[in-house]
């Protein structure tokens, strides 16, 4: 049995969302209006870390909220741990075995972290709490209202994992954590998966998904563009190459197969390279007077560019990635 299975899952926000009060602003996501999802079909196997990648506003949170029964789908089916998400009684049983960390998590501000965890533990259980608190150590005896963003995140992480869930749904889990805690967290998630926990990991950071996940589903504008193993995604995504020369950079990247989105600015050339490393190095060896060279992981938007090929290339050139994703 798959941990998560969706078939044509669709959520549209129509005018009946709550009461259509004309003076009320439309609900906003992090970077724009809340986008629905359209025809999302995916399967997450048990014990797998499934990355759910997309720019802000692509519909990642909408998918998660639909899977958890917080909002109901407009069309399509979804099962979580075998429970139909539109069957509240069945889903309730599944929720006891799910850990959830929302992207923005509110707490009761006037209680201490310890009291909050005690309270949640009486509903969820907390057999792994002490072990987790060794890895993630928010100041438990202080009121949550005094917590920093990082401490709030850690408290949320402990809450999500403390009842030893079979499935963990993490929405942008490392946002707000310092880099050291981030890598602790990512290592922790890998260990959890190794011991059989299924992880649904939503993120807009490619590098993070690359480090942590087995397979990646890419969501864009509410639609699932592709699902594939993380390595293939990176091969397809290519590298971001930046070359600065002392003289005229005109020849850099010209005639090399696999170069897209080449731009020249002053003595600097930038392009995305999707071919083999060796050929790139051979090509660069033929260039005179390279002053500076950088080959880096492409930004998520460039991976998308590669995926959607020519048809979105012009779109990319003229609009910002985030606004485009919300369209």
């Amino acid at each position: 049995m798959a941990a998560i299975r969706t078939e044509g899952l669709t959520k549209r926000y129509g005018s009946c969302r709550r009461f259509p009060l004309p003076w009320r602003e439309q609900p906003k996501g992090e970077d724009g209006p809340v986008v629905g999802i359209e025809d999302v079909s995916l399967t997450v196997e048990k014990g797998e870390i499934f990355g759910y990648l997309g720019p802000n506003g692509a519909g990642k949170t909408t998918t998660i909220r639909t899977l958890l029964g917080v909002i109901s789908p407009s069309a399509g089916d979804a099962e979580v741990l075998g429970a139909d998400v539109t069957d509240p009684a069945a889903l309730r049983g599944a929720k006891a075995r799910i850990g959830f960390l929302p992207s923005v998590m509110g707490f009761p501000e006037d209680v201490t972290g310890r009291r909050y965890l005690d309270h949640q533990a009486r509903i969820l259980g907390d057999e792994r709490r002490e072990e987790l608190l060794e890895l993630f150590d928010p100041p438990l005896d202080r009121e949550i209202g005094e917590y920093s963003t990082g401490n709030r995140r850690m408290l949320g992480i402990v809450r999500a994992f403390m009842h030893d869930p079979d499935l963990v749904i993490l929405d942008e889990p490392t946002a707000g954590l310092d880099p050291l805690k981030q890598s602790h967290f990512n290592a922790f998630v890998r260990e959890e998966a190794a011991s059989g926990t299924t992880v649904f990991f939503s993120s807009h950071v490619l590098g993070e998904v690359r480090q942590v996940c087995d397979r990646v589903g890419i969501l864009r504008g509410g639609r699932l563009a592709t699902v594939e193993p993380v390595d293939e995604l990176l091969d397809r995504g290519g590298k971001r190459v930046r070359v600065r020369t002392r003289g005229d950079p005109g020849a850099v990247g010209v005639g090399l197969e696999g170069v897209v989105e080449r731009t020249v600015h002053d003595r600097e050339v930038q392009f995305t390279y999707g071919g083999e490393y060796q050929r790139l190095l051979d090509h660069l060896a033929g260039i005179d007077a390279i002053e500076d060279l950088e080959i880096a992981e492409p930004p998520l938007e460039d991976v998308f560019l590669h995926f959607y090929g020519e048809e979105t290339e012009t779109e990319h050139a003229t609009t910002l990635p985030d606004t485009e994703a919300d369209a």
Binding site: R17, R18, F19, L21, R24, P27, R65, L68, G69, V70, I71, S72, P88, A89, R92, G93, K95, A96, I98, F100, P102, V104, M105, G106, F107, P108, D110, V111, H119, R122, I123, L124
Partner: protein
Amino acid sequence: MPEIARFEGRRRLKGSLYLAIGIAAFALLFTSFFPSVEQIDVDEYTESMPALFQELFNISAMGTIEGFLAVEIYQFVWVLLLPLYVAYLGAGVVAGDADADRLDVLLTLPISRSRLLAEKAASLAPVVLVPNLVVPPVVYAGVLALGESIDPIALLAVHALSIPFLIACGAIGVAVSVLVLDGDLARRGAIAAVFALYLLDSLSVVADRDWIGAVSPMRYYDPTEIMVDGECDLVGVGALCLIAAVALAVAVVRFQRVDAP
């Protein structure tokens, strides 16, 4: 084990206690004014007031300590201020959680939505109960200290019968909360609704169209009647329970299916 009601209720305990102490202090201060009010000719004073005021505030009863307390403290604090506050808090239950990004986490707990809502509503209990526990002994002591006397049963009755009344007002707040699912709007809406119901009750009587005010909880809780005439309106208690049940039923039915904002 209603863990959410227990947790949320405890968080309201301190505030409810401060509220009760404030009301008790206010009640003592007003009680201390009674000797000077007693010296004026209440009948003459009453006649000088417009008929509407006499009817609305039952001023003629002010010559006795029971009537004075009923008009100056209970008609004002228990019939107007406290219900407004309880409705305001009721309006914050799920809508306030939604505003503070807490609702998603609550909805993903393995408990049903109706139970979540019921526990959230039940967490209003301290605000309803604590003032009714703290204030009566203080008022009683204050009356005795003035050398006056008051029937303790009447005093207890005015507080006990306020409980279904405040529950009905809280339930109206909860219903507004679920219908609107926007904390600020729900709180303002609930205050407006309860104040409108207060006006509806009194004005419909004045306008000789009593039946319009029958939906108002204020119709079924009259401290002056209880304290001065010693009447306990048990049918009224039934009506208040009905108002609360209808409001909560509306809230539960909508909350079952609604998309969290």
